[in-house]
């Protein structure tokens, strides 16, 4: 079983994003940190290289009623404890770097977020439908 020390991981993430990240204390049972969207891939590459952290349990996207202009994306990792990266994207142009090329297990998770929330994953070719019908023309259902 992989056990990664949260403090060591946070220190390394600080080094990658070259600034202090914000800790989001709101999710019970999870250690959540907010990072800039442009640093997502760099942080995950570092987590994989330095900590062999590849257990991505899922990606959750959501829009909060109190902040409807933002799509929030959570990358849920298992590192011997529950750990999530939170990224906030503008709803009018939600773009995020893909990580499927470095972690193939993210493929279906990214496709689902793209389909349901209209997030564009930079670096991926056009994403075919995964869950919605081929002739679905009503836009992302969660938007």
């Amino acid at each position: 079983m992989v056990m990664i020390d949260q403090k060591t991981l946070q220190k390394e993430i600080n080094n990658v994003i070259d600034s202090d990240f914000e800790i989001y204390p709101g999710i019970q049972g999870d250690h959540t940190i907010c990072i800039p969207s442009v640093q997502l891939k760099n942080v995950i590459v570092m987590m994989m290289d330095k900590f062999d952290c590849r257990h991505l349990s899922g990606i959750t996207a959501q829009i909060r009623s109190e902040n409807q202009d933002v799509i929030e994306v959570l990358y849920h990792f298992w590192i011997g404890s529950s750990f999530s990266l939170m990224i906030k994207l503008p709803k009018h142009a939600p773009k995020l770097a893909e990580i499927t090329s470095i972690l193939p297990g993210a493929d279906f998770y990214e496709r689902e977020v793209a389909e349901m929330f209209g997030v564009e994953f930079i670096g991926r070719e056009e994403i075919p439908p995964l869950l919605l019908p081929d002739d679905w023309d009503q836009g992302p259902p969660f938007i």
Partner: protein, 360 residues
């Protein structure tokens, strides 16, 4: 030889559930394939936002027709965490007992399918007969063979009588004998070994790169089991062995599930032995305070993740369900490359697909 693309599904005799695939072959060799989900997508995550928490227990149960109980257990655990409710310990044990019986019947179902796919109809018949015994217990205590409606927010709907406990012990003993016999048959059946040993091996590296969980991961030496690693109650008080193998082929996946069935039946006895007396539910308010939670549990197919956010109302503001089959499905196109056409069913069945879970 020319490449031929064969469309399979969404409804096809090869498939137990609807899935759309395109498999490219050249002669008897498979070159690769693609797959597409969605035929049984019901929009459950979106629908959950329009239902109350109480209604959602029943909605969530319908995500899957095999592991329905672990879904409601995980959902209730998430809601109860936000509510700050302490579920009675006896209720936790009854939930765990149902989860383990679900694991037994799910694994026996899978063992029957793999036997059927390699032409061993007798093993198929026996495992599916034995599976009925586990379903009998679940029906006896809950009233339902498939959808048990055992859980409610704050505990479980029913208690176990002494007669029921005695019946469960006797049936679990019978099942243990049958599981031992099954293990002997599996280990000594040359056809099964010929059709599964060395077929579609998955390295631990591949498993990790594809984020695969559960028995498929454990059959490749990736030792992960949320009952031990992130134990929801009462698993933090229970002891059991996590079964792993190193080979990563269809044979290892078969042996892991058969061994796990035996270990799970032992765990059923442990649960019954350690189950305390007491109440089985507490009253829970309909409105859930604002908050968010991530919970994990070990479904028969592996790690199940629920993310739940409440805005203080009677309905969830967001419910995310990541089922264990989803990453395993992602792996299938990779597994299909460079195998024989005759091995397609073994490879497909090997990851223990649950399309209803993956589609939600």
């Amino acid at each position: 030889m020319n490449k031929i693309s064969i469309p399979i599904g969404p409804q096809h005799p090869l498939l137990k559930e609807p899935l759309t695939m395109n498999i490219d072959i050249s002669g008897e060799r498979v070159l690769g394939g693609t797959l597409r989900l969605g035929y049984v997508h019901r929009g459950i995550e979106r629908l959950a936002q329009q239902k109350t928490y109480v209604q959602n227990v029943h909605l969530i149960e319908r995500i899957c027709g095999i592991c329905s109980h672990v879904h409601t257990t995980t959902f209730c655990h998430a809601v109860e965490t936000l509510l700050g409710i302490d579920v009675p310990i006896r209720a936790q044990y009854i939930r765990a007992l149902m989860c383990e019986l679900e694991r037994v019947h799910s694994h026996l179902l899978w063992l029957g399918i793999i036997a059927k796919h390699v032409g061993l109809d007798t093993i198929f018949m026996h495992t599916w007969h034995d599976r009925e015994l586990a379903l009998d217990i679940m029906e006896e205590v809950s009233g339902g063979r498939v959808s048990h409606a055992a859980n409610q927010i704050g505990g479980v709907r029913f208690d176990l009588s002494q007669e029921q406990e005695a019946m469960i012990r006797k049936t679990v003993n019978d099942l243990s004998d049958k599981a031992n016999t099954l293990m002997d048959v599996i280990e000594n059946e040359p056809v099964l070994q010929a059709r599964t040993k060395g077929v579609a091996p998955l390295s631990a590296e591949t498993i990790k790169n594809y984020c695969v969980v559960g028995p498929v991961a454990r059959a490749s030496g990736v030792d992960v089991d949320m009952r031990r690693d992130h134990p929801p109650p009462p698993y933090d008080r229970l002891t059991f062995n996590v079964i792993t193998r190193q080979d990563g082929d269809a044979w290892a996946r078969t042996v892991v599930r058969a061994e796990e069935t035996r270990e799970t039946l032992k765990l059923c006895h442990t649960i019954l032995d350690e189950m305390p007396d007491g109440p089985v539910s507490v009253r829970a308010p309909r409105k859930v305070p604002e908050g968010e939670v991530v919970v994990r549990s070990e479904a028969p197919r592996g790690e199940l993740l629920y993310y739940l956010r409440s805005d203080g109302s009677e309905n969830p503001a967001r419910l995310k369900v990541r089922t264990p089959t989803l990453p395993a499905l992602n792996l299938i196109p990779k597994q299909l490359s460079a195998i024989h056409v005759a091995d397609i069913p073994v490879v497909m069945a090997g990851v223990d697909l649950c399309i209803a879970c993956a589609d939600r």
